[in-house]
Amino acid sequence: MNQIFVAFITGLTTGGLSCLAVQGGLLASSLENQLEQQLDLQIEQDLAARQAHRSGKKRERILAHPRLALPILLFLVAKLAAYTLLGFLLGALGSVLQLTAITRAILLIAIGIFMVGNALRMFNVHPIFRYFAFEPPKFITRYIRRKAKNGESFFSPLFLGALTVFIPCGVTQAMMAVAVGTGNAFQGATLMFAFILGTSPVFFVVAYLTMQLGARLEKAFMRFVAIVLLVLGLVSVNNGLSLVGSPLSVQNMAHSLFPAPAATSQVSSPNPASTLLLNVSNSGYSPQRLYAKAGEQILLNLVTVNTYSCARDFVIPSIGVEKLLPQTGTVLVNVPAQVAGTVMRFSCSMGMYTGEIIFSQ
């Protein structure tokens, strides 16, 4: 649920502008015909009105604004549908790949590196980073270009909107990789739907007002997009590291640096127990640190109450536990005996929510 929200916000804040930079030209050329037709009509009406005025008839109101909203809307609706379908296919691809916690972690780290690489490309750090951007095959771009030039009024924006699926912008490409990472066709579809829906308002407003961004504005927002991409990339790498229980992730480093938990968080008794209770909520796990008896098998009770977030997809990488918890209910996990001093890290399947079990005598 959280991931979907993040996708929507990413779309709303950066995706819309970034997509417009890439696909704006396509939309503009598809609207060109429309604009020309409208202008011709306007000139004809203008002439007719003047003649009517001269002959003493009442002047008719002249069509002042070309109707651009509808074609832009059609373009966006087609784009939304096409990307949702793409998300479905990418999610399905991810599910066929049988993603284990480890492969998902590798994928997350790879996605992160891909995002960071793209951010560095946008900053023009070095031409080598241009290889982080995929170029669509020539025959596709040629076909799209020709269609955009010879478009008919309403079919054209619909068709071109759907074709944008072949020319995704950098942020969209990153989101497509995340869709594969979900490993589920419906989650992939929802993710892409949320993202593209998020991009639509900005796309619509900017496209409607200016049709094309000025060069100076484009440069400024590209920098903004690059910064967001850089942050998202680093978050993705970090999530991948948490997912494999690496001590290098920010959360796990924080856990090691600050062994005393914050006073406000709900903490289990420091007395090690052989039966543990972990509440799995929409905002993560509580307590984030559990204390278990070393040398004996531990029974871990995972309790969910109306939990919809990805915290439901519970993973303990070190012992290969991966459970999809019910929205409400209790699931028992047997944790084999561990030696004293072991710190066992657990997280959600995307590495966003984390916690640990500390074993002592």
Partner: protein, 70 residues
């Protein structure tokens, strides 16, 4: 027909080549334009009797990019 390579500056994404290649339709005598974002260049196959290097460079400039003979 000749084939010439031009260095292209100002491409900021992998879809810019699509725009640059649209000079195929804008100028007479151009058979094919193959642009690479990664290499920052374009290879133009054209009929020198119908279109000149300068016209190609000007057409690219009109699209907001700068082309230079490589």
């Amino acid at each position: 027909m000749v084939k010439k390579t031009f260095r292209v500056e100002g491409m900021h994404c992998s879809n810019c080549p699509m725009e640059v290649e649209s000079i195929e339709d804008d100028l007479p005598g151009i058979k094919q334009v193959t642009t690479s974002y990664q290499k920052g260049q374009m290879v133009v196959e054209f009929d020198e009797s119908k279109v000149s290097d300068a016209q190609i460079i000007a057409a690219v400039a009109k699209l907001g990019y700068q082309a230079f003979p490589a």
